[in-house]
Amino acid sequence: MNRIRFRYARGKELRFLSHLDMLRLFQRAMRRAGLPLAYTLGFSPRPRLSLAAPLPVGATASREYGEVYLADSVAPASFARRLGEQLPGGLALTGAVTVAADEPPLAAEVNAALYHAFWRDKSSVPRAEALRESLDKLLAQPKIIIRRFNKRGKVTEQNIRAFVFSAELLPPGEHGPALRLLLQVGSKGGVSPFRFLDQLLPGEKNPGERFWRLHRQGLYIYKETLVEPFPEGGEKKANG
């Protein structure tokens, strides 16, 4: 069994795909590439394919990761080339490496996501000062409560303060202010960046999606420092 971790970027052409759409897209691209996918056992076999930390619908991204098990050995360089050729415009494969079978799964490792949010609405640009004040006030609170509907349609409350590692202003972008957000993701809980952004301008309807264009810079293993879940120079290995 051959376990391969790959890295990819998502452009604006495919920014509205959901996590399930992305899985289906990768699965079909791998089938087109003729890669020997390994399947789960049982009544309805599925390829053993996973993508780390669902990317929010609407967001573009620079460094996303996935993992797949193959039934035969395929060199990472060959994997990257073959899969890369089968991806539609808006997806780019930027690296592939072999991972030892005893390493923890990607989903268990990745716990932090770094986002850049850019103001998109030219017609109403907030002053940087006002935004900074709002941000400082929000982060100073011991609790940040968001409300959402659960599967039964009931409103539930959730304190997301602990999932916000950091949030700060960046130098302004094309249409106005920009933010850098480091948020928790993964099995220990997390928050959608759009729902955090909602809290900055309360009172508007869906202010997150309405005012901000979102780009995920990368996913990380965050302990003391941010570590990419991908070996240093992964591309090189992939090419050699």
Binding site: F16, R24, S44, Q86, R120, E209
Partner: protein, 590 residues
């Protein structure tokens, strides 16, 4: 990309924005300046429905393979997107280039079901294109329609410039090719262009004909207004399906389509003569692809799409000679790739143990059969000559091969139906469950879907009235009550209201066109979707226009009188239809 900035401001606020972006694998983006004719193909329903349509896949690939032509796709925007487009002044645009569809040379509509007509007007309006053909000049695209409803397109006649009857894979490239020549010669004169297209077999120019109506509003016939218009328009038929082009690299949707799989058409047409079935008439004659060609298509399509499921499609796939051998060898060839091969609705009398076994590959799924009626007498009337035992045997074989889930299609309101026939549906299902549960401990589930009979143009039942709505509802309830105690049978049914409107338009004439426009203006759209459909809104529109919809749906037509679609020839003569219509009435006697 055109309109990009406006779309950027709309898409974050609509459901499933990927519907409007394209960018799928195998989508074709051609340079507009590199071709001589550009066509937008519109499907008047949402993306997920339209992307499941085989005709669209066929035409898209054929036209785009042609170096001088391009085709892009457009679907009906859902209500939320429509509202934003209207608010922001964004015109209807094609997926591939995001260009407004009004900039194309042709805008084609796929006419699959009558309840999509209001969406067609809505899409024209969203495109900023005048609704009526007579109000459009050389600046606007030619509006063309094709598909099953083109065999009676009269309610749509004033909105369209031309219709294509029958198979499109040879005719559409011919139409576009002829247009390239004509648009230079005729320097954009629309009437001369249409006159030039009228000579192609299968092309119907509604503006070249005028119907007349007599006392009491009876249709009296249609007369030709233009010498280029043929007396009768014959449908186009692709003679050699084996060599006809077939889409080997269809677009793979990024979001899940209703039928999210590859489709390999085994054959076109159907040799069974079910008297209610329009598809059985208009797709004649039966033309098959060889097993070798089917396997080659499957191989290349799997390679080009990465699909994990291929449907072996046709009107009656069990009737394909050697179907079990074919599936066996497809399974053998693609064993390592984990591909699922599926069949749409199956014939009860040609389903075999061998087939049941070939198909059961340890996956969940259900088998679908269409007995249509509950008693052998009524099945004889509709020309579906299968016995109760055929059903018991077929399902029994499938259960023995490991299947546990079944779906059965029935219709209510078929000609000569009595309560006994409705009770017959329940009795048949109960007897079926009794038989297949006897030696089995497994949980077997049966889903039955009950639609309402709609008399369709060009069928032997085109003269029959539709059952009145209150009576449809009473019979539906009768059946529901009978099946209530049977927990393993799950029944679903079509709303009588939708079927009523479908019947009105299926046998409609040109007087319905202003009514259709009125209904659309009052807010009707997505009439096939129960959450959008309002019969009251339609009835109000009928009232305002002084038209009684019951005259269209509930009337038994006179077999000697002319019909609004008599000048459109399906390939089956009216004499044969009358003979079958009379036979059905004889068969209905006990």
């Amino acid at each position: 990309m055109f309109l990009e900035e406006q779309l950027e401001t709309l898409l974050p606020f609509v459901q499933k924005p990927a519907r409007y972006l394209g960018n799928e694998w195998n989508a074709v983006k051609k340079d507009h300046s590199s071709v001589a004719v550009r066509m937008a193909l519109a499907f008047p329903d949402i993306y997920e429905v339209g992307m499941s349509n085989l005709g669209l896949k066929i035409l898209y690939e054929i036209i785009n393979l042609h170096p001088r032509m391009l085709m892009e796709r457009v679907f009906a925007p859902a209500a939320d997107m429509e509202a934003l487009m209207r608010r922001e002044g964004v015109p209807l645009f094609a997926l591939e280039s995001a260009r407004p569809v009004r900039e194309f040379d042709f805008l084609g509509f796929s006419l699959q079901y009558e309840l999509s007509y209001s969406n067609i007007l809505n899409m024209l309006d969203l495109a900023g294109i005048p609704l009526l053909s007579k109000d459009r000049g050389r600046e606007e695209p030619l509006i063309i329609g094709g598909g099953p409803c083109a065999f009676n397109p009269e309610p749509l006649a004033p909105f369209f410039d031309l219709f294509l009857l029958g198979d499109g894979e040879e005719a559409l490239p011919e139409i576009l090719e002829r247009w390239i020549t004509l648009s230079c010669e005729a320097s954009g004169n629309k009437e001369r262009i249409l006159a030039g297209l009228a000579g192609l077999e299968g092309v119907y120019i509604p503006g070249f004909y005028r119907p007349s109506y007599g006392a009491g509003g009876l249709f009296q016939g249609i007369s030709r207004l233009h010498k280029a218009a043929p007396e009768a328009v014959r449908k186009r038929v692709v003679r050699d399906l084996e060599r006809a082009p077939y889409p080997l690299a269809p677009v793979v949707p990024n979001i899940e389509a209703v039928h999210d799989r590859g489709m390999v058409e085994l054959f076109r047409g159907c040799s069974r003569g079910c008297r209610f079935c329009q598809a059985g008439i208009i797709y004649r004659p039966v033309r098959r692809r060889s097993p070798e060609r089917v396997k080659q298509i499957a191989r290349e399509m799997l390679q080009a799409t990465g699909y994990e499921e291929l449907s072996l499609a046709s009107l009656s796939s069990c009737d394909y000679p050697g179907i079990d051998t074919l599936i066996g060898s497809l399974h053998a060839e693609h064993a390592a790739e984990n591909v699922r091969f599926t069949l749409p609705s199956l014939r009860l009398d040609s389903f075999s143990v061998e087939l049941a076994q070939q198909f059961h590959q340890g996956r969940r799924g259900s088998l679908t059969f269409a007995p249509e009626a509950g008693t052998e007498r009524l099945r004889r009337v509709i020309g579906k000559n299968i016995s109760d035992d055929d059903l018991f045997t077929a399902v029994g074989d499938a259960v023995a091969a490991g299947w546990q889930s079944f779906k059965l299609y029935f219709m209510i309101g078929l000609p000569s139906e009595e309560d006994e026939d409705v009770r017959g549906i329940a009795a048949l299902c109960e007897e079926l469950m009794r038989r297949i549960s006897k030696n089995q401990n497994r949980r077997i589930r049966l889903a039955i879907s009950v639609s309402t009979f709609v008399p369709k143009a060009h069928t032997p039942f085109q003269w029959e009235p539709q059952l009145i709505m209150p009576e449809v509802r009473r019979r539906q309830k009768l059946l529901r009550d009978l099946l209530r105690r049977e927990r393993r049978i799950n029944m679903s049914w079509h709303d009588a209201e939708n079927s009523f409107l479908e019947a009105v338009f299926a046998r409609g004439d040109r007087r319905l066109a202003p009514l259709l426009e009125r209904a659309w203006r009052s807010g009707c759209r997505f009439d096939g979707w129960s959450e959008h459909f309002s019969l009251q809104r339609w009835l109000d529109a009928f009232d305002e226009m002084g038209i009684n919809p019951e005259d269209y749906a509930y009337r038994r037509l006179d077999e000697t009188a002319p019909l609004p679609w008599d000048h459109l020839y399906s390939g089956i003569s009216k004499e044969i239809l009358i003979r079958e219509y009379r036979r059905a009435r004889q068969d209905s006697l006990p």
